[in-house]
């Protein structure tokens, strides 16, 4: 039995570049940069000062409010500065800069296992919050917030997201292959919070080794099943995954918890296990550095704060005879194109893809007028009509866009743009239209929320 959702696309996977590269720990040299905002919500507040000595796993910035997350040092050394540095998005942001002494002296022993048998639900959530865990699938939403829905008893499914539908990326695949028992333990810890929930591990069928490993780890666990999904993007998107597992579609104004689902990335579950059982805060995560332009595509346990450029050097740099024309933080579907690699890796980042050829550049040359072929409508996982939305957005008819075509329901997965034979930049149009509508609402609403 294979499950899937409606629509979606199947872009070229390119996972063979790094799929068999073992996860390795990389210890960076030189300075480490920790942006204060590595999550959705309010930026953290620094609790160290210039000149302070810090150790691995020491808290250096504290969450500001409930929807925020602590930040921990991933190296030992001296705080060099707290200043504005360039970050992933291209802009400047407040960062703590630590001069790494190369010793990686830990603040505590993270290898002794703590018994969790008598921990209450609230204690588990507290430990997760204390460890500064955020969603490692890419969004970076603070995990402790997600684990506290209004009615925990109403949660029917805790979905472990091991789909990894993003092309190129393979670190979750490797993590599942090598750390399957830990992930299952992490899922069990989450399941303790939701007495009526079943744990479902979803993995796409292009990762047979991971499926096998997870099945072995989950065997005998009554509340946990492993499901094989058809390889399709955006399977790893929360909404698509919930649809595939439960058959429920829900509007963008609702949260997964409203339909009885909690989705956690397998990397996050691993981090939860480390945090609850070993009291290890989140200062490293699994990470794929890949692409045609990379000499040795690799999977890492990377320390937060490592520079992208340094990690690339650890992979042997750029392949001879190739030029990197595009650097993507993440994979080609959701990734952000980077202008420079001299920015730090943040908690929620899970990959760097260096492309030797830019498909977008090629596509722009092949752009024709819209044929009305309807492929975008076929692939839209939300069930929208991107072609009509684009017509309305271009014509400036934002009322039709929003009210008749439900344009704000777009989850910006980009499936329509990938599928479009006329190579039209649909999603970019929608992003703009959405921004315009929100701005208009703000103006008309007089600052109301």
């Amino acid at each position: 039995m294979r499950n899937t959702f409606r629509g979606g696309v199947h872009p070229a996977e390119h996972k063979e570049l790094s799929r068999d590269a073992k996860l390795r720990l990389y210890d960076p040299k030189g300075e480490m940069v920790f942006p204060l905002q590595q999550h959705i919500g309010k930026p953290a507040k620094p609790i160290v000062q210039k000149g302070d000595e810090v150790l691995v796993g020491q808290k250096i910035a504290e969450a500001d409010g409930f929807v925020s997350a602590h930040i921990f040092s991933s190296c030992s050394g001296k705080v060099k500065a707290i200043e504005k540095r360039r970050v992933l998005t291209g802009g400047m942001a407040e960062c703590i800069v630590i001069d790494n002494d190369g010793q990686f002296t830990a603040a505590a022993d993270y290898s002794t296992r703590d018994s969790a048998g008598d921990l209450s639900g609230n204690e588990i959530i507290q430990r997760v919050q204390d460890a500064g865990i955020v969603g490692l699938g890419g969004a970076g939403f603070p995990t402790h917030v997600k684990l506290k829905p209004k009615v925990p008893e109403a949660i029917e499914y805790v979905i472990a997201n091991g789909a990894e539908c993003e092309p190129y990326l393979t670190c979750n695949d490797q993590l599942m292959r090598t750390h399957a028992p830990a992930i299952v333990e992490g899922l069990e810890l989450v399941l303790r919070l939701f007495p009526n929930a079943a744990g479902i591990i979803c993995i796409e069928d292009n990762k047979p080794e991971a499926i096998h490993a997870m099945q072995i780890a989950a065997s005998g666990k009554q509340r946990i099943t492993v499901r094989t999904m058809i390889t399709k993007y955006p399977q790893g998107g929360e909404r698509s995954l919930i649809q595939a597992v439960t058959g429920i579609d829900f509007p963008i104004s609702s949260l997964p918890a409203d339909v009885g689902c909690i989705v956690q990335n397998v990397g996050t579950l691993y981090a939860i296990q480390r945090a609850v059982l070993y009291r290890e805060p989140l200062f490293s995560q699994c990470f794929t550095l890949t692409g045609e332009a990379v000499k040795e595509p690799s999977n890492f346990f990377v320390r937060v704060g490592t520079s992208y450029a340094e990690l690339l050097e650890a992979c042997g740099g750029i392949k001879e005879g190739k030029t990197a024309v595009k650097a993507l933080a993440g994979g080609p579907m959701m990734g952000v194109a980077m202008g420079t690699l001299d920015v730090p890796i943040q908690k929620q980042n899970n990959g760097l893809t260096l492309l030797a050829e830019d498909p977008v550049e090629k596509a722009e040359k092949m752009m024709t007028a819209c044929l009305h072929c309807g492929r975008c409508t076929t692939v839209c996982p939300v069930g929208l009509m991107p072609q009509l939305m684009a017509d309305a957005a271009i014509a400036g008819d934002l009322t039709r866009y929003e009210k008749k075509l439900y344009g704000l329901e777009c989850i910006q997965c980009g499936s329509c743009t990938v599928a479009c034979p006329a190579k039209r930049p649909l999603m970019q149009t929608f992003k703009q239209a959405k921004a315009e509508i929100q701005e208009k609402k703000k103006r008309e609403g007089g600052g109301q929320k």
């Binding site: 039995m1 294979r2 499950n3 899937t4 959702f5 409606r6 696309v9 872009p11 070229a12 092309p167 649809q243 058959g247 429920i248 579609d249 509007p251 750029i318 030029t323 990197a324 024309v325 595009k326 993507l328 080609p332 579907m333 959701m334 990734g335 194109a337 202008g339 420079t340 492309l355 830019d358 498909p359 977008v360 550049e361 090629k362 024709t368 007028a369 819209c370 044929l371 009305h372 072929c373 309807g374 409508t377 939300v382 069930g383 009509m385 009509l388 008749k404 075509l405 439900y406 329901e409 980009g414 743009t417 990938v418 599928a419 479009c420 034979p421 190579k423 999603m427 970019q428 992003k431």
Partner: protein, 512 residues
């Protein structure tokens, strides 16, 4: 790291589908119909296809040059327009028409509305309608072989005449160049199996049309009648290649279904009650014009809003038959059903036609007869001799208006040179031959076939008893002069006549 990194918004990958890929696939799927059309209809058809395609591409190029627009001929859409137009023309259309039509299609219907993706009606169809209205005489479809205008199969169908579905199916009937239903179906189903055309459109067109014809066509859902309607008048080409044109068809599934049904029903209405055989083009054009309206009002809601408060069942993907397999099976099934259907439908007709031919032959050989009847004794005798050669197959008693016996008509078969020679022999009440007519004669042309000429046949009139064959001029009462160089045929005819006369002597004589 050196060099500048490209910046762009995600997603950073694209599918292999491109506009030229789609157009190439459509062109490819039209190839079977084009090739069949050219092979069946000859050089003039080739000229029409070539001229239409070349002038469509050329006018696109010129139009873009004049309007300072980017060159778009390589996307292949102009070539498709030209080809579709050519395939919807008759094989003997004067050669200036495809050129004129292509220019009209590209410049007026497409270019003037903004080029690819902006036209509101299918350019090829619009051009066809333009030609139909403006050049009604020249557009009338003439058979390729002799240039005498005759009714097309659809014309015949409108008049409730019998049509030859087999030839329509294969594309050898008088009609448009792209008339081969089998080739069109193969191409159309290929496109459908590649997900290039939407099944909602082509199948709802066919279903809508079939339902309307079945309900109101006057013959109910008789398969042969429906099949004949479906095979004629561009229904298949319209359903698979014209109505499915992306630009001029709606986007939502429901909209596509409505659009397809609209075309099918309108096509049926025009076919039944309109006064032209080419009505399907107009039906599609009307569908095209309705498309913006459908797209404005028929919009699909996001999944989350379709069934509020209900969860749908989990979509599992067990085993799915791949579309190409379905398409191939469909082609095979349609061909099989059509061919066997044609056989069964034509079986009765063929028998009827043979009967009519025989009856005509009997009337010719018994000029005094008003009607014919059988007798049991004659039937029995004929049955008993069924394996003889020559043999009497059937004997009829010729009656006049008042029911009096005026003579006999016999159906006799003898072995000829090229096969069986079957003839009708008319006898008077007292056994004298009144006439001779052949119902089956396949002898050597110029020799044996001379048996059917009056010069030979008339020798028999008035004779009776037992006849003998002589070479050269006949001298005696009972002698028949043989055809020079065809003694086998002459022998067969005389033998057959003798068998008939003998049958008269032994069975019929005496007024049984």
């Amino acid at each position: 790291m050196n060099g500048v990194l490209n910046l762009s918004s995600s997603p950073h990958t694209r599918d292999k589908w491109t506009t030229p890929y789609i157009m190439r696939m459509v062109l490819l799927s039209l190839m079977p119909a084009t090739i069949v059309g050219i092979v069946v209809n000859g050089w003039n058809a080739f000229g029409i296809v070539a001229l239409a395609v070349v002038s469509a591409v050329a006018s696109e190029w010129v139009f873009n040059k004049i309007c300072h627009k980017p060159d778009t001929i390589w996307d292949g859409s102009a070539a498709i327009t030209g080809l579709l137009l050519a395939l919807s023309l008759g094989p003997n259309t004067p050669l200036y028409l495809p050129v004129l039509g292509s220019v009209f299609a590209i410049v007026v219907c497409k270019g003037c509305f903004g080029g690819l993706g902006k036209n509101f009606i299918n350019p090829a169809l619009a051009a066809r309608c333009f030609l139909l209205i403006s050049f009604a005489n020249a557009m009338a479809i003439k058979p390729a072989v002799d240039a005498v205008a005759s009714a097309t199969p659809v014309g015949a169908l409108k008049a409730f005449e019998q049509v030859d579905i087999t030839s329509m199916f294969l594309g050898t009937a008088d009609g448009v160049i792209g008339g081969s239903i089998l080739a069109l179906l193969a191409g159309g189903l290929l496109l459908w199996s590649l997900d290039i055309i939407h099944g909602q459109i082509c199948f709802s067109v066919l279903i809508g049309f079939t339902l309307l014809i079945g309900l109101f066509g006057g013959k109910g859902f008789e398969p042969g009648f429906l099949l004949a309607h479906l095979c004629g008048g561009g229904v298949v080409m319209g359903a698979f290649f014209m109505a499915t044109d992306y630009v001029t068809s709606p986007v939502s599934r429901l909209g596509q279904f409505i659009y397809g049904c609209l075309i099918g029903v309108l096509g049926g209405i025009f076919r039944l009650w309109g006064n032209t055989a080419d009505s399907f083009s107009y039906a599609i054009i009307i569908g095209n014009v309705c498309t913006p309206l459908i797209d404005t009002y028929i919009v699909q809601k996001p999944l989350a809003y379709r069934k509020i408060g209900k969860t749908r069942t989990v979509k599992k993907e067990p085993f799915r038959i791949p579309k190409p397999v379905i398409a191939l099976t469909l082609i095979a099934a349609i061909a099989g059903v059509a061919l066997s259907g044609v056989f069964f439908m034509t079986k009765d007709t063929i028998e009827k036609q043979e009967m009519a031919k025989e009856t005509a032959a009997y009337s010719a050989v018994c000029p005094d007869a008003d009607r014919f009847t059988t007798s049991e004794a004659a039937d029995k005798a004929a049955e008993a001799a069924a394996n003889d050669m020559p043999r009497v197959n059937k004997a009829y008693i010729a009656l006049d208006k008042d029911g009096n016996t005026v003579g006999y008509a016999l159906n006799v078969t003898a072995k000829g040179f090229g096969g069986n020679v079957t003839m009708a022999i008319g006898l008077t009440k007292d056994g004298k031959i009144t006439g001779l007519a052949f119902t089956e004669l396949s002898e050597t042309a110029g020799l044996g076939m001379k048996a059917d000429e009056p010069e030979f046949k008339s020798q028999f009139t008035g004779k009776g008893g037992k006849l003998s064959l002589v070479k050269g001029a006949a001298s005696g009462e009972q002698e028949i002069s043989a055809i020079t160089g065809a003694s086998v045929t002459s022998n067969a005819v005389v033998g057959g006549v003798n068998a008939g006369l003998n049958f008269y002597e032994t069975v019929l004589k005496g007024g049984n």
